[in-house]
């Protein structure tokens, strides 16, 4: 066995603890007196220390150990939480995260000692405990009551002849024999792993001779909450107990030094065992008294931790982790099923004609049933792939806090709808764009504190991140109550850059001007800062979001703030589409981008700048003849009426002229493959229709 098989657990748990710590420290900053939070931080730091220690990550262990020390003092009321401490704590978190990143990449924590942070921690510790508040020191640590809860079960172990031989030999070499019983917290989910970590820890100091239950049973998790073993070692007992207790989720470890003669006697005679126990109790009491400061902390911490986990986590783990590739495979098969279903539906409707009768009706009923099942199945699979955006947005409060310090602006982030769910692939890629928008709001959006005061706004600027579902889309809005976008300055900048002439600038709408912000290397920041202003910004946000099939919109009122609206599709693989025909060729257009469908007569077509437009309900809409766009054979004569599909992208609309409408359908998007050089991107994919025919999917976004 080696530690690497526990690496994944370690990484997962460390991530969990880090997020927990980050949340707690944020809370602590607001409520420095909150005892629950302080306990929680202490517990998380302690667990981190234990885990890092057993995995052999000494630097990480040292750092978390010092964090734990500080909180030990805070807990016992010897020092109070200052904003300086909070800053250092955040640095610690970053450092631990860096260790963890190293571990993820190379299974090693790296070589950064983070001496500076450790020193700062210790300085704060020294300064904090120096001016101890006398009235608070009266808290006496509660002693763990006796050993009734933790009997010395190791005395029950019966030795085989071979084990006796080994013990005798070890003792004759001057090694100590320890009997040890380890109690694991009842809530622990991976008892075998914990046991393994304990063995791993103690085997650094000696050899384990006998187990109870057997080592195989321990490995298979066939034991209650405790297990016992005998260890021969040259190291002192306290050291052994300490390393075992350092493993997280270990409730208590009891043990004592034994003589071989005592052991054999104990095994043979019950009375002798009793006597040994009495003696051991005394020994245990002694070790309790002179134990290192960490030991009482340990015993105090355990019940608190137990209480906490009882309240928070469900007792049993009801989730499974599945490789995303397996989900993709499942998704593909559901897609196939939907295609098969669609073809059954089309056979059903075509053979509808003369047959009639009971069998046909039964057939239709079954098809409808099948349709319900496949739709349900599709929804379930989609749901499985859906994850709440929480995993992405939960790091933002911390980021805003840091930005607030860095920019010296007071600001607060309000988030709603963190539980809004999106397809896994979308969630994975939405983090960066959102982060960018938030930075943008913090840096460019919000004014400095002085300006805000002058303008009569609340000193603390607020940034809102709201997520919610709207039809087949998820909307994420990032808004601030800052200055808003100064379109005049943007216009000047655009003219300065030679993008437009001053005359053009006069006629531009506010929307068109704001669109400049999404152009590559068009930065509005007056000076380049760490946070933003390098000109790689909103254009990247825009292209990232568009790559996910979404779009970004901006609303801004000068002096009152701006709002970025990100619209994302719920799913990427299956969409609702309108089927159209152009010269007998079938195309699908996503329903999401369709506004209305109009029937017009050819003489309604007007010309503006030699381009065809129509004027409907006060809006002038440019027309695109799909047959021309898609290089179809021209028709001999103009039709008497034209079908126009009005599509929208953001604020822009266009009318697509098609020959025929074939109704709405759920379609499965398939790629065209790599051979076809689809550089125009008009065709975003293909889909197989119910009758086996292939239809191409038009990406109307490329038409604007």
């Amino acid at each position: 066995m080696d530690v690497s098989q526990y690496l994944e657990i370690f990484i997962d748990e460390t991530n969990g603890h880090l997020q927990n710590l980050s949340d707690c420290i944020m809370t602590l900053e607001k409520e420095p007196e909150n005892m629950d939070t302080i306990n929680e931080i202490f517990r998380a730091a302690h667990s981190l220390k234990g885990m890092a220690g057993t995995m052999g990550f000494k630097r990480m262990q040292r750092l978390t150990h010092d964090m734990e020390n500080v909180f030990q003092e805070v807990r016992s009321g010897n020092m109070s939480v200052t904003s300086g401490l909070v800053d250092v704590l955040f640095q610690c978190l970053d450092a631990i995260e860096a260790y963890l990143d190293n571990v993820k990449e190379s299974s090693d924590e790296g070589t950064d000692d983070n001496e500076a942070i450790i020193q700062e921690l210790n300085e704060i510790l020294a300064a904090g405990t120096g001016n101890t508040l006398p009235e608070k020191t009266e808290k006496v640590p509660v002693k763990q009551p006796g050993d009734e809860k933790h009997p010395k079960k190791y005395l029950d172990i019966e030795f085989s002849e071979k084990e006796k031989e080994e013990l005798r030999e070890a003792e004759s070499k001057g090694m100590n024999i320890y009997g040890i019983t380890v109690f694991i917290q009842e809530e622990c989910l991976l008892k075998a792993a914990r046991a393994f970590l304990v063995f791993k820890a103690v085997e650094d100091y000696g050899n384990i001779i006998a187990y109870n239950p057997s080592s195989q049973d321990i490995e298979d998790e066939k034991f209650g909450i405790d297990f016992s073993f005998y260890l021969v070692s040259e190291e002192g007992l306290e050291k052994i107990l300490e390393v075992s207790r350092a493993v997280s989720e270990i409730e208590e470890v009891v043990g004592e030094k034994l003589k071989y003669s005592e052991l054999t006697a104990a095994a043979e005679k019950k009375e002798a065992a009793q006597a040994a126990e009495q003696e051991a109790k005394a020994a245990e009491a002694k070790t309790e008294e002179k134990a290192v400061p960490a030991a009482p902390a340990q015993t105090k911490q355990a019940p608190a931790a137990a209480k906490k986990t009882n309240g928070g986590k469900p007792v049993t783990n009801r989730t499974v982790r599945v490789d995303i590739e397996k989900l993709d495979a499942l998704m593909n098969q559901v897609s196939e099923l939907i295609i098969a279903k669609n073809s059954l539906v089309s056979i059903g409707s075509s053979s509808d004609g003369g047959t009639g009768g009971a069998s046909s009706q039964a057939f239709h009923e079954q098809i409808e049933y099948l349709e319900r099942i496949t739709t349900g199945l599709h929804e379930s699979v989609m749901k499985v792939r859906m994850v709440p955006i929480e995993s992405v947005v939960q790091k933002f409060p911390r980021m805003i806090r840091d930005l607030s310090k860095k920019l010296d602006k007071k600001m607060e982030l309000f988030m709603t709808g963190e539980d809004t769910e999106l397809d896994r692939t979308v969630v994975d890629q939405i983090g960066d764009p959102l982060q960018h928008l938030l930075r943008n709001s913090a840096d460019h959006g919000l004014e400095s504190t002085e300006v805000r005061r002058k303008r009569g706004k609340p000193e603390v600027g607020s940034i809102h991140l709201n997520a919610f579902q709207e039809g087949n889309n998820v909307i994420i809005e990032v808004s601030d109550d800052g200055n808003g976008i100064d379109t005049e300055t943007v216009k000047e900048k655009a003219i300065e850059r030679g993008l437009i002439t001053p005359e053009q600038g006069e006629t531009m709408t506010q929307k068109e001007i704001i669109d400049f912000l999404f152009m590559p290397s068009f930065s509005m920041a007056k000076k380049i800062s760490d946070i933003s202003g390098r000109g790689v910004g909103l254009d990247v946000v825009k292209s990232n979001i568009e790559a996910l099939g979404g779009d970004v919109e901006v609303k801004s009122v000068l002096g009152e703030g701006s709002k970025f609206i990100v619209r994302l599709p719920l799913t990427l693989a299956i969409i609702q589409a309108l089927m159209v025909e152009v010269r007998g060729e079938k195309y699908a257009i996503s329903l999401g981008s369709i506004e209305t469908i109009e029937e017009i007569s050819p003489d309604e077509i007007k010309f503006v700048q030699a381009k065809e437009v129509i004027h409907i309900r006060g809006i002038v809409i440019p027309l695109i003849r799909l047959d021309q766009l898609l290089d179809c054979e021209p028709e001999d004569k103009e039709r008497e009426s034209l079908t126009v599909i009005i599509v929208r992208k953001g604020d822009k609309v266009a009318g697509l002229i098609v020959d025929e409408l074939n109704g709405q359908q759920e379609i499965v998007i398939k790629s065209l493959g790599k051979y076809i050089n689809n550089s125009s991107k008009i065709i975003s994919g293909a889909t197989v229709l119910g009758d086996g025919e292939v239809a191409l999917i038009l990406d109307v976004n490329t038409l604007f």
């Binding site: 060729e585 790629s671 065209l672 051979y675 076809i676 050089n677 689809n678």
Partner: protein, 154 residues
Amino acid sequence: MANNLVAADNTRKQFIVVKIGSEQYGIDISYVDNIVRMQKITRVPKVQPYFKGIINLRGEIVPVMSIRTKMDLEPDEFTDVTRIIILKLEEHGVLGIVVDEVKEVVTLAPDEIDKVAYDAKNSKSNFINGVGKHGEELISLFDTNSIIDEPEMV
């Protein structure tokens, strides 16, 4: 590529013999996934001219290419014996090519295959990497990879 040829030289290889125009061509059977009858090909606008379009092969979308157009021959004429040969290439996925007729499968020993010299003037020769002798008949052997490669744009 070179290694492949050396290794293959020691073994007998199987080829599917197809007719394109008046000539017979051989396609290494190890690349052939399937042979299907001519079916409706959905045209894809705005792509390379030699791509006929895409077909639905048991739910999968497969691009189909006209080897005639690619070799600058006269355009395809679809008949009862026209077939689409589906090639499967490790990293590239599947691709169909249209042939006039599928004749047979032949096994050729290394000594039955003659290498052909590269002739830059003859665009057809770019796709051929050998000539097989099967009895009295001569079979031009396709270099499967060069069929797939994009021609250099002039």
